[in-house]
Amino acid sequence: MTASDEPSDRPLLEVRNLRIEFPTRRGTLVAVDDISFAIAPGEVLGVVGESGAGKSLTGAAIIGLLEPPGRIGAGEILLEGERIDKLPYEELRKIRGKRIGTIFQDPLTSLNPLYTVGEQLIETIRTHLPLGETEARARAVNLLEEVGIPAADERIDHYPHQFSGGMRQRVVIALALCAEPRMVVADEPTTALDVSIQAQIISLIKRLCRENGTAVMLVTHDMGVIAETADRVAVMYAGRIAEIGPVTEVVKHAKHPYTHGLMGSIPAIGHDVDALTQIDGSMPRLNEIPTGCAFNPRCPKAFDRCRVERPSLMPAGRSSVACWLYEDEAKEAAHGG
């Protein structure tokens, strides 16, 4: 592992041209189509997008847990420069939990109801670290304390159903961080929680990652959470990345018409508008994604080319956008560069 001593120009995780498919009776569905991004050590990459945009699938592909019949159709996934998408199951298993931690959306169902929290923690710790039972337990108690569970040494022997939702999500985070992974994939870690708890969990994740220099891929559809947490953000639409860039840039100067509409449709306190900006229609189903730009039927600025040819990511300002509107700008930038 040379990555840690080198400066962070080498990304921790790199996804190149990833394509995820589902063979079905009506042909192959492409749920994630040719997406590429990278996450540097210590960086938080936010992934936003509507339900069904392919956010969770991307996360699942990274940890190698696509559920059959889903499969990676093309592309590569590199962790610290090493390809992991083609690894045999057993190799990949050793990466999961050890080098990539995972947090799922629903803390209610993520924990096995029949085992105590401690048992699940210790099991995970001992799978990845050469620790004895008592050491593992001590570590588990520490972890619980770290994620803010009071009276951890007592609560460790409780069953999941004896915890509240927020507390359970903390346990899930503790489980994901058991072996101090370099990277965490968090799939909507706060969606099921109340705003007040949500704030607690977000700041917890942020703190833990800052302290350990862990890279985070934070999947959510809550723009607010992204704005507060992420360094960079990728906006997904119908299985593709519509826009990716630094968070301030995307939030404040959204370039893609979709991002733009999205930002406008979020009500905000203090903003008195009679009607919210509204993107008409809904995201297409996977089997009826239009040709050209997937967003074109809903796009107020669509022109002919959008309906025919599919744009790929092109640099625009500090972000990259998949939109023909920015073709000129991108060309200029290319010339300039």
Partner: protein
């Protein structure tokens, strides 16, 4: 000064009769979740009562939107269900246009009132019967409440309703699974409108939807309100949405209304520490970098709520009095707060949004 300390029982006085569409007074709803008798005897535990709603009073003026916000489990949905009669109240009264509809019997005796209030549910996937065609779903209230309407009239009306919510009349032939979440919520709204209601109870109608779809639905609801003069009881935990849609906002905590007031006032100058906490917790899209201290702790169990002010375990301003005495709502009819700290003037200034 003297005026300000008048204990207000309700957000708005029911004084000028006709104006008030719905008046709720001292509404209480308890659920008995006790273990079976034998367990209680053997384990020497008492009854376990969920105090889901613990004395809520408010009234809604015709054409307005009254919103309830609060964390999960604080009793918002229970209030909604009490209002539409899905649960009978344990105590307290409900009046619709001055007619008492507290008991199930009273409701049966006033069937027209039942048809004038409808409900929109949270889950667009669960709120439509998957085995029914959309047209039948939308037509159900018409068929129930206006018997004898001819089939073609019903169909015509259904088509009209569907168009009204932005779908096409031909969509009536389809089944719900052929629609996306946002479209289903439109169907729900069409169904609710089919009874020609004046009053709509909306229990988190958009929280299962994506923001872009949420915007469509919120816009639609506002449009319909204007066009049809609807009155809404709107429930949400999303403060921004509430800010966007409501006229008056009530903040609930553990079965009680802790603060209410006109939307702008309440969000502009929240007084109850809980309201402030909620506002603080909203992620900051503007990235204004405001300093926030996320409040610790979670909502206690409504089975044995803390004594005194239920919020005191999480409240930075809690005093001994807060731990013992339940604060009364103090303020005018339209804006009040139930907090000892406010009453005692211990409240620090609001940093402003």
């Amino acid at each position: 000064m003297a005026e300000a300390t008048i204990a207000a029982e309700k957000p708005a006085e029911a004084g000028n009769g006709n104006d008030m569409l719905l008046e709720v007074d001292g509404l209480v709803r308890h659920f008995d979740v006790s273990p079976p008798f034998l367990n209680r005897v053997l384990e020497r535990t008492g009854r376990r009562i969920v105090r889901a709603v613990e004395g809520v009073s408010f009234s809604i003026r015709r054409g307005e939107t009254f919103s309830l916000v609060g964390e999960s489990g604080c009793g918002k949905s229970t209030v909604a269900r009490l209002v539409v009669g899905l649960y009978p109240p344990s105590a307290g009264t409900l009046q619709f246009e001055g007619v008492d509809i507290s008991s199930p019997r009273a409701r049966r005796e006033n069937p027209t009132i039942q048809s004038r209030m409808q409900m929109i549910f949270q889950d667009p996937y669960a709120s439509l019967n998957p085995r029914w065609r959309v047209a039948d779903i939308v037509a159900e209230p018409i068929r129930v409440h206006r018997k004898g309407v001819s089939r073609t009239d019903v169909l015509a009306r259904v088509g009209e309703l569907l168009r009204q919510v932005g779908l096409s009349a031909s969509d009536g032939e389809k089944f719900p699974h052929e629609f996306s979440g946002g479209q289903r919520q439109r169907i729900s709204i069409a169904r609710a409108l089919a009874g020609e209601p004046e009053f709509l109870v909306c229990d988190e109608p958009t929280s299962a939807l994506d923001v872009s779809v949420q915007a469509q639905i919120l816009n639609l609801m506002k449009r319909l309100q204007k066009r049809l003069g609807l009155t809404y009881l709107f429930i949400s935990h999303d403060l921004a949405v509430v800010y966007h849609v409501s006229t008056i906002v009530g903040v609930m905590y553990l079965g009680r209304l802790v603060e209410w007031g006109p939307t702008k006032e309440l969000f502009g100058a929240p007084r109850h520490p809980y309201t402030r906490m909620l506002l603080d917790a909203i992620p900051d899209l503007e990235m204004s970098g405001r300093a926030r201290i996320p409040v610790a702790g979670e909502v206690p169990s409504p089975i044995d709520p803390p004594p005194g002010c239920a919020f005191h375990p999480r409240c930075p301003l809690a005093s001994d009095r807060c731990r013992q005495e339940v604060p009364k709502a103090v303020g005018s009819a339209t804006a009040a707060v139930a907090c000892h700290a406010v009453e005692e003037g211990r409240l620090p200034p609001w940093h402003g949004a």
